[in-house]
């Protein structure tokens, strides 16, 4: 099985998921593991959780020029996940002109070969949620 491209991707019997941390003191939800809360500075209040697998586009950009070997254009989106965390990722399977603020998206896991590598890694993308079809 492919290695995760970034350490926030973990796996269990049900498949891959994104790991986050909730601060019980201030309720902030962070992407990835952490030892102290950057928001309220508490150190004993953190619990890890599975991040939500759906959310809405906060902002995006269409990247036309990237580092050598990286295929362009692609959409770089900042998504507000339904648990209140904020995640950066590539938004796939949509025409750049069709992206809107607050577009509903879900997190999908895929095997992809990073630029300059030969083997695939396990990564995540955002894709438009199904229910947007009837808008």
């Amino acid at each position: 099985m492919s290695e995760p491209l970034v350490p926030i991707i973990e796996r269990d019997d049900s498949g891959p998921y994104l790991v986050g941390t909730r601060c019980r003191a201030c309720e902030h939800v962070f992407v990835g593991p952490r030892e102290a809360c950057a928001r309220c500075t508490e150190r004993e209040s953190l619990e890890s959780l599975r991040l939500a697998d759906s959310g809405r586009v906060y902002v995006w950009t269409v990247v036309h020029r990237s580092f050598p070997g990286v295929a362009t254009p692609f959409i770089d989106a900042i998504v507000d996940l339904d648990d209140g965390s904020h995640l950066k990722g590539t938004l796939a399977d949509i025409d750049p002109d069709a992206v809107t603020f607050d577009l509903p998206v879900r997190v999908e896991f895929r095997e992809e070969i990073p630029a300059g590598e030969t083997l695939p890694y396990l990564t995540y993308v955002f894709v438009p949620s199904k229910e947007t079809g009837d808008e």
């Binding site: 992407v31 950009t61 269409v62 990247v63 036309h64 990237s66 580092f67 770089d76 990073p114 630029a115």
Partner: protein, 382 residues
Amino acid sequence: MSDVYIVGTDMIRFGRLPERTVPSLAAESALLALDDAGLGIRDVEALYCGNLGQAGGMVAQRILAEIGQTGIPATNVANACATGATAFHNAWMSVKAGAYDTVLAVGVEQMGKGLLGGGRSGPSPEGLIGSNTMPAMFAQIGVEHMRKHGTTVEQFAKVSVKNHHHATLNPKSMYRRETPLEEVLGAEMIAWPNTKLMCSVNVDGSAAAVLMSESKVRSLGLMDRAVRIRASEMSSTPFAERQLAMPDFSAATRVAAERAYERAGVGPEDLDLVELHDCFATAELVHYENLGLCADGEAGKLIDSGDTALGGRIPVNVSGGLLSKGHPLGATGIANIYEISTHLRGEAGDRQVAGARLGLTHVVGGGPGMGTSCAIHILERV
């Protein structure tokens, strides 16, 4: 406590200088700044040098190897795009604290071409998990402004038209060419909405300043051309909601600005000109609001009004800014201080802001998941 003054400052013309070394670029502006003050390296009691590309390379010591090894303490500083301003801030603190009377601050960078960002080891997530390029990050900051305030692509593009126009009046700018709105909008798209002409120019360069205590300025009779440092303030990112997903350059700027205005006892309405961190056209409009040049949501209107162009109410980036003068990371913060000082001295030639008495410089840097660093200086004509 007595004030600290700039008694000499200068920069080399920014450009592509691959045949030079980093210490030689830095030494050139250091000597120009000392000449401007009528001083020599033997008069300098400490040196602070800002550089990113060779942060582990003892650039401060190598400058002294070029211009005189007098045995003074020499400190190397790296702090993203605030590197040069941080070196200047450290120099200011050392004089303010009474440790030294005369201190040299130098900022230098040799950049090469290409996109900034990345820099991690292992397989690159670029493209698969969004982008770690600087243009993408600053594009999203502009898109956030569109989301909140309805700002248009044309309003962002006008920043480039203005700053490229200013640069035609600055002999030390990398580019000195007018770029009409259609040309800015029609240039190669880098990361929507920023086209190539809306991205800062990677150049090589250096800038330097000599800082001096009030008693020393008086005893040497240097007050005539001295510039008073009314505030030298820094900040790191206070917690900002989306900061780990998209670097937040606004929260840190607002904190530093508030501290600087308070320290100087002035407000944004008292400023005659501003050099702010226009690393991308989108950034300039966001910083109008962060620095209090207009109310939140009014930045689009402010660029439309022409008030931030030379001749307007509050000219911004009369030097041409990072967009046209160029952005040699470690040098930028001191080059901005040189620009404001030159106007306050009434020596800015064709681009002189008439009657300039009070000016502000701003730089802010950072990267994805790293947080940000901001430095703001308020300078006053003596």
